[in-house]
Amino acid sequence: MTYLFIILYAVTLIYFALSERVKKFVWLLSIQGFMLFGVVFFSLQTIELFDFVFILVETILVKSLIVPLFLNKVRKHNHLKREHEPSVPVFYSIIVVVITLILSFIISNNLHSTQIHTKYFTVAFASIMFGIYFIIIHKNIFSHVVGYLIIENGIFLLSLAVGNIMPMMVNLAILLDVLMGVLVLGVFINHIGDTFKSIEIDQLSKLKD
């Protein structure tokens, strides 16, 4: 059953490459939160109850509800409708996503480690790579925050891959990262949107020499 959610997570990555509307980004982030919930629910049966409940609450509440709601508010505040054309056409982004997925599957096939659960490692690695690619091709700081959240989802899966050894500390760290990142960055985007009247990063290059 975990495989089902992992494959669906990979499909959401493809849809991220395909979509251009900002609303769809936020919606896809919420769906990714649900997929992570499914993955956790069906796999982590062996750790103690409190940690288990904590991780479940974190994925459903924070990743699927709070963060997308907050991002929606920021989106409405700045009147973002559609992403301006990304610097790499969508056609090639989809090809890049597919190549990244194939590469991560090949790498995890060749990893012979007893400590990593390679079934999570595949999409975790692909998610991190794709998040970095996403930040590079989009020129709009809202999309940068979305890319950052994709990287965070990948790190969450990677911490599942590492095992159930120290779940509490790791999850606390990720939760802190996500909350601090999104809340602070979101508030900041509102400030920047108000001051600069746009959120393209071309406006943010006065500090160069």
Partner: protein
């Protein structure tokens, strides 16, 4: 003890933030500085003991905290003068001081902590608080600098977190289930080199945003161009030391495995490329603060080269770090006061500083000579030791190339500084009616004098501490 300190800091910061009263602020800040000094002395008494479950008073932490306590007092003093000059409201002052207290506490936690995950959390906290401080002036440039710093810092720390996850993989392969530094050191010989290499590269990349070395140096430079001078003094020194501690921990772990030589090569490349980028970019710099920010990058490149070369290079690297912190802080305090005299931030619109404020200009010259590692500055001694180690190790090409780059950097910085000090400019670029304030230069006397003293005739406990800090590397 550290937990008590952190709780006291929380309470003090909360008081300062809530009551926007000047007397409360002054009392809280004094209590904070005195507690920090007490903590430093306590840690020296109880060297190498664990404390509060996740912290340990090891030698390198004590050295860094000592510098932090000296700079805290100086920064508070200069913050008062700075905020008085800017005529900020009480509310803004309260926010500034509250975040400054939390920032220093977070850095302290990063110095002393023994657990890699808690180290990561402390560094994340420093990111947050320093962003509030960079954003203090709330204009467009500050907004841009804060956004870039916050975002790339978060991404960099996410990358460092992946590195820590890989470290935990290799730790659990050998049966260690917590990320405590001492337990990792014990099992370091048995670690699979591949995982440690990947972890090292990721942590180096992630913490390079704090230490302002290649590859993620750009946002730190931008942030230092925009922040207020007392904050800049702490950012360029204590925060850079935090980045160094992060990299140092993983470096000592990898020192016990078979991948040590490879790690030293990587660090050598990083150091040389940092200095190369500095030399190239400095020719285009036209703002004073940016000049000093790039100079930080160059010195960190030298520290990394010192780590990479080994032998006496280890001792020289830590010595270089300490001296650089003291001198750079003094320079930034002076620079804050210089900025007050001129209307614009561009170097070509400043000049005649020697005529305006001779004492301050004298301090500026002394500071710039010290940062350029000209004797009797302590930096001369540490750079001399680094190059000696390079020549002993037969890295001739690296040494000659870096010496050439350093001479380019010396030329550029000196040229810009002498423009500031001696150039003839029209009087309408100066702010009128500013009397030079002699109290601004007290701190620099102390700091520069300390560096010269420590360089020439360092006391025994100082060199013992440095030697204790690098024993893990042998």
């Amino acid at each position: 003890m550290i937990f008590i300190f952190i709780i006291i800091a929380f309470i003090l910061s909360f008081f300062v933030f809530v009551s926007k009263n000047k007397i409360v602020t002054t009392i809280s800040l004094s209590i904070f500085s005195i507690s920090l000094l007490i903590l430093t002395a306590y840690s020296y008494q109880h060297i190498n003991q664990t404390d509060s479950l996740y912290y340990k008073f090891d030698a390198i932490g004590i050295l860094m905290t000592g510098i932090l306590s000296i700079l805290t007092i100086a920064s508070f003093y200069h913050s008062f003068l700075f905020l008085k000059r800017k005529n900020n409201s009480e509310k803004q002052k309260a926010m500034y001081f509250a975040s400054l207290i939390m920032f220093i506490t977070a850095m302290l936690s990063a110095y002393f902590t023994e657990n890699m995950a808690l180290l990561w959390v402390s560094i994340e906290a420093t990111s947050l608080f320093v962003s509030i401080l960079i954003f203090h002036s709330r204009d467009k440039n500050a907004m841009e600098a804060t956004w870039k710093y916050l975002f790339i810092s978060s991404v960099g720390l996410a990358i460092a977190f992946i590195g820590i996850l890989f470290l935990s993989i290799v730790a659990s392969e050998n049966g260690v289930s917590d990320l405590n530094y001492s337990s990792l050191l014990e099992i370091a010989q048995n670690m699979n080199p591949i995982w440690v290499k990947i972890s090292f590269i990721l942590i180096l990349t992630g913490f390079s945003v704090k230490m302002s070395i290649f590859p993620l140096y750009a946002v730190a430079i931008d942030a230092k161009t925009m922040a207020a001078s007392p904050v800049n003094a702490l950012m360029s020194t204590a925060l850079v030391n935090v980045g160094f501690i992060g990299i140092f921990r993983i470096f000592t772990i990898i020192a016990k495995t078979s991948a040590f030589v490879w790690a030293q090569h990587i660090l050598m490349i990083v150091g040389v490329v940092s200095i190369l980028i500095t030399a190239i970019q400095l020719t285009r710099v036209k703002r004073l603060k940016r000049l000093l920010a790039f100079s930080s990058m160059e010195h960190m490149g030298l520290v990394v080269i010192g780590l990479a070369v080994g032998g006496i290079g280890f001792y020289a690297a830590i010595l270089h770090l300490i001296f650089h912190s003291l001198i750079k802080a003094g320079l930034f305090y002076q620079l804050g006061y210089i900025r007050h005299h001129f209307k614009s931030i561009w170097i070509k619109e400043t000049g005649k500083y020697f005529k305006i404020d001779p004492l301050g200009a004298l301090m500026m010259i002394l500071g710039i000579l010290s940062i350029l590692a000209i004797p009797p500055s302590g930096l001369f001694i540490s750079e001399f030791l680094i190059f000696k180690a390079l020549f002993i190790n037969a890295n001739y090409f690296v040494a000659i190339f870096v010496l050439f780059l350093l001479s380019v950097i010396i030329y550029t910085i000196a040229k810009r500084t002498f423009h500031l000090l001696y150039a003839e400019i029209s009087d309408d670029l100066l702010v009128e009616n500013i009397k030079p304030n002699p109290y601004e230069t007290i701190s620099q006397f102390v700091l520069f004098g300390l560096v010269i003293y420590l360089g020439i005739d360092s006391p025994l406990f100082f060199s013992d501490l440095i030697n204790a800090a690098i024993t893990v590397l042998n």
